[in-house]
């Protein structure tokens, strides 16, 4: 099946199978490796990408469902240098192994778009679908709150 999508600002036309997930197509066909495979059933959030600015688990989206839509991965928000949020992740040591980081950066980017000054609870609720096993979450919450305070993005 023909799939026309925009990925990080670039137009792609791909021949995909009906059962291909968006995650498979991004990683194996397009070569965009930042969405990670953590569980393939929507539990961990490592594969989070934005479709038209809204976060989705790309392991639960069939590639054909994304036809005609615009996909943003963490590479797509890094072309012009680091976003304020990414810089705050570096400053706050908001990751260790980093496997969850692309997904969490995208979920938090969406949160800050919709709610530029989130509270601690807002951050916890918005990111509850993204698991992190290394940090204990505290430094991630700190970074997102700091991004809000600064009125960045």
């Amino acid at each position: 099946m023909d799939l026309k999508i925009k990925i990080n600002g670039e137009d792609w036309t791909l021949d995909v199978a009906p059962a291909d997930t968006l995650l498979d197509v991004l990683r194996e066909r397009v070569g965009t490796k930042s969405p990670k495979i953590g569980c393939e059933r929507g539990d961990c959030g490592s594969c989070t990408v934005l479709i038209d600015g809204r976060s989705v688990r790309s392991c639960l989206v069939l590639a054909v469902e994304a036809d005609g839509h615009e996909i943003t991965t963490v590479e797509g928000i890094s072309y012009d240098g680091l976003s304020a949020l990414q810089t705050l992740f570096l400053e706050n040591n908001s990751f260790q192994c980093g496997f969850c980081t692309p997904g969490i950066v995208l979920s938090a980017t969406e949160l800050l778009e919709q709610n530029p000054n989130p509270t601690r609870h807002d951050v916890q609720e918005a990111l509850a679908g993204n698991l992190c096993r290394c940090t204990g979450y505290e430094p991630i919450i700190d970074a997102v709150l700091a991004a809000g305070d600064g009125g960045s993005e």
Binding site: Q96, G129, G136
Partner: protein
């Protein structure tokens, strides 16, 4: 160590330097083992045993071989060398050798053109099984003498007795490390019959030793490369798919990739040993510990892995950081048909800490004294003997200081709001705030650093000065903890040169760094980098008659006498060090001796809110104070303390691998729950610095302690809230409600 600190270098020790792998990780460009690929690669897949114990009557690989796109189907008969592997004891077949001894044991492997074909081909293999009764009861295994190891500790007077006695039986469940990246490996033929391997690992040299033995190859034919890794926590200390992916690549002559999905990951790596512990503490009327008697039983599962070391930790830390002259411990780790267990953060010490800290609280209650005062009164300090082995602690041990620092952290305000987000159960299941009960609990934990019992434990590092800067070469695995940053900081401080890069070398280019486990790399690889940097600096200074090295050359009395280019006129200069910690010894027949190389102590305080009607718990906050020796990177330490606490909270209230007749019933993140953002308690940390005698700049390994006493602190807080005995971790709603 007396190396002077170069104050003019930025990014040295003691500062919260940014990670060198930070930008690649926040931009999605960091390459994990699971991201590696090549155009002509094949995919591997594994057929696994559907039984926990069964005889393999026949195996028909024909249907798989007949499938289009299948390039190889291999079984145990195809293993070219030693048919068994194992880190401590070679007892596990590479593939099923006629009997499956645990659920999910690998039986056959397939390489095919794509992932789906490989998986379908593996599933098409016809295996005929004769199911056998699984030995799934650890106590029965102990009665049957099915043991990996037994350890007896006899210290002091066996007739000693106290006047105040508490006895208890405690259990901890099996916990999965649940690193977010699953097992992944990529094997590339080198064109000369050998391979380059990139597999998720904590110790590439110990992988290498097992792989070449099973493949019957020379050491230089197989090169194991450190690869990007999505967390470890002990799950990667033992072989998973390493030998399989190598066999498939050798058989096909093609690059092969293997990657476990989450459910396969749950069966594909070793877990934390479940435990059952009988304890008897005896004290005199003043609260001094007189005698501790314990029997510890750990379930090692089907194969040995690191069970021997895990048992030793449990046994030697039976009493914790307390003085006691009379100790009797009988510790066993049994062999069953349950999932194989190995290392997880705090291995062995986690289980024992749940037992002894539960007992210390009960003893305080029996004596009618404050639980923290009882701990202070009995606290082990530098110069005291370890209660179990009798080893005299030859370094400061700030047990009382961590308790004092922890107690000084202010407690949170009482729960005053009916905001459901602050209540146990969250927005889905709530009781009014007025019915929520708050509890506070404390625990203190002790852990050894690095390998013990006479193991020849070393780490190799090479420090090279080039015209472009300094390179630190090591095979030590960075698993997220921040070792790369600390290695840079140590080299900068010693050399006085800011431009330091850490280079991962494969097994053919550098000697072993040892395992990234046992809280050992900051002290071991950090120690090697320190010694190699000192050696390099001192040689350069001697060669040029200088007294100081700086970013731009050698100085004497403040005047530059040679540039970096001049130092490197004949090429890069380097220094290689194989660093060893002070010698340790195996215990004698009574479990006595200088068994350990170093010790770390930490304390935790948990505050919980409990809904006693539904048995729901919200962990409000967990505070900690920990001895770190010397804080090389305070921010990275805080990160380890916070992250480790969360895994301890997981074991306290939600994480349990449910095993039924040897079968894991919850091998997904839908059913095996790890803490989320909404479960995250607030954390306050206090860092105590009691310098280690041999760690670089006095630093101690700190990675495991956060996971050791956090679990019993949370359970103690739930006991304080509910008045229930709660002798098992994790605490389940039914344990609180009493159904």
């Amino acid at each position: 160590m007396t190396t002077p600190t170069r104050t003019h270098v930025t990014g040295g020790i003691g500062t919260s330097v940014r990670r060198p792998d930070g930008v690649p990780k926040v931009t999605g460009n960091f390459a994990y083992a699971s991201d590696l690929h090549s155009k002509d690669m094949l995919w591997g897949a594994t057929l696994r045993s559907p039984h926990a114990h069964a005889r393999l009557i026949s195996l028909d690989t024909g249907p798989a071989l007949a499938m289009t796109g299948v390039r190889a189907v291999l079984t145990q008969d195809d293993v070219p060398g030693l048919p068994l592997f194992g880190q401590e004891e070679q007892d596990q077949p590479v593939l099923c050798d006629g009997v499956a001894r645990y659920w999910g044991e690998p039986v056959a492997i397939v390489a095919a053109d794509d992932e789906e074909t490989a998986q379908r081909a593996a599933a098409s293999i016809i295996a005929e099984w004769e199911p056998l009764a699984p030995l799934d009861d650890p106590e029965k295994a102990a009665d049957d003498g099915s043991l990996f190891r037994e350890l007896k500790i006899r210290r002091g007077d066996k007739e000693a007795a106290g006047t105040v006695v508490v006895e208890g039986v405690y259990e901890t469940a099996s916990q999965d490390q649940a690193p977010l990246g699953t097992e992944a490996g990529f094997a590339i033929p080198d064109g000369s019959g050998g391979l380059d391997l990139y597999v998720t690992s904590q110790w590439v040299h110990v992988d290498h030793r097992q792989i070449i033995a099973c493949l019957d190859m020379e050491p230089d034919q197989i090169r194991c490369h450190p690869a990007g890794i999505g967390g470890a926590f002990g799950a990667r200390e033992d072989i998973s798919l390493h030998i399989h992916v190598a066999m498939l690549s050798l058989a096909t002559g093609r690059p092969v990739k293997m990657e476990y999905d989450r459910s396969e990951s749950f069966v594909g790596h070793v877990k934390r040993h479940p435990s059952k512990m009988w304890y008897r503490h005896e004290a005199d009327a003043d609260g001094n510990l007189v005698k501790v008697t314990a029997r510890l039983l750990l379930d090692g599962g089907a194969y040995a892995h690191t069970s021997r070391a895990v048992l030793a930790n449990a046994a030697f830390f039976t009493v914790g950081p307390y003085r006691c002259d009379n100790v009797v411990v009988d510790a066993q780790v049994v062999k069953t048909n349950n999932p194989p267990c190995g290392a997880m953060r705090g291995f062995g010490a986690v289980q024992a800490c749940f037992g002894y800290e539960s007992q210390m609280d009960r003893l305080a209650e029996e004596l009618g004294v404050d639980p923290l005062d009882l701990r202070r009164q009995n606290a082990m300090r530098g110069g005291d003997p370890l209660a179990t082995s009798g080893q005299v602690i030859d370094a400061p041990l700030p047990t009382v200081e961590v308790i004092d620092a922890l107690e000084a952290i202010p407690l949170p305000e009482p729960l005053a709001s009916d905001d459901p987000r602050l209540l146990p159960g969250g927005t889905g299941l709530t009781t009014p705030a007025s019915k929520v009960v708050r509890g506070v609990g404390y625990a203190v934990g002790l852990k050894n650093v690095a390998f013990s019992e006479g193991f020849d434990d070393y780490a190799e590092a090479r420090v090279v000065l080039t015209r472009a800067g300094v390179e630190v070469h090591t095979a030590a695995m960075e698993v997220g903890q921040g070792l790369v940053t600390v290695c840079q900081q140590i080299a900068r401080t010693v050399l006085g040169i800011e431009n330091v890069a850490v280079v991962w070398d494969d097994t053919s280019h550098i000697g072993s760094a040892g395992s990234t486990s046992a809280s050992r790399q900051t002290q071991m690889t950090g120690g090697a980098v320190h010694a190699a940097s000192v050696g390099l600096r001192d040689r350069i200074l001697a060669d040029f008659g200088g007294d100081e090295l700086r970013n731009d050359g050698v100085y004497r009395a403040g005047e530059r006498i040679a540039t970096i280019d001049e130092i490197c006129a004949e090429g890069p200069v380097e220094h290689l060090v194989r660093f060893r910690h002070p010698e340790t010894h195996p215990p004698d027949e009574n479990g006595q001796g200088d068994v350990h190389a170093g010790f770390v102590v930490a304390a935790h305080r948990a505050v919980v809110d409990v809904d006693p009607e539904l048995g729901l718990v919200r962990v409000v906050r967990v505070d900690t104070a920990q001895d770190v020796g010397k804080a090389l990177n305070p921010q990275a330490i805080t990160g380890q303390l916070e992250g480790g606490i969360m895994q301890g909270v997981g074991l306290a209230v939600m994480e349990e691998l449910v095993v039924d007749h040897g079968v894991i019933r919850n091998p997904t993140f839908t059913d095996y729950l790890i803490p989320t953002f909404l479960d995250a308690p607030a954390v306050e940390t206090r860092i105590i610095e009691a310098p280690d005698p041999w760690g670089p700049f006095g630093a101690k390994g700190i990675g495991e302690s956060p996971t050791i006493s956090s679990t019993p602190a949370v359970v103690a807080a739930i006991r304080a809230a509910t008045g229930k005995a709660l002798t098992r971790a994790p605490v389940r709603p039914q344990d609180i409600v009493g159904i």
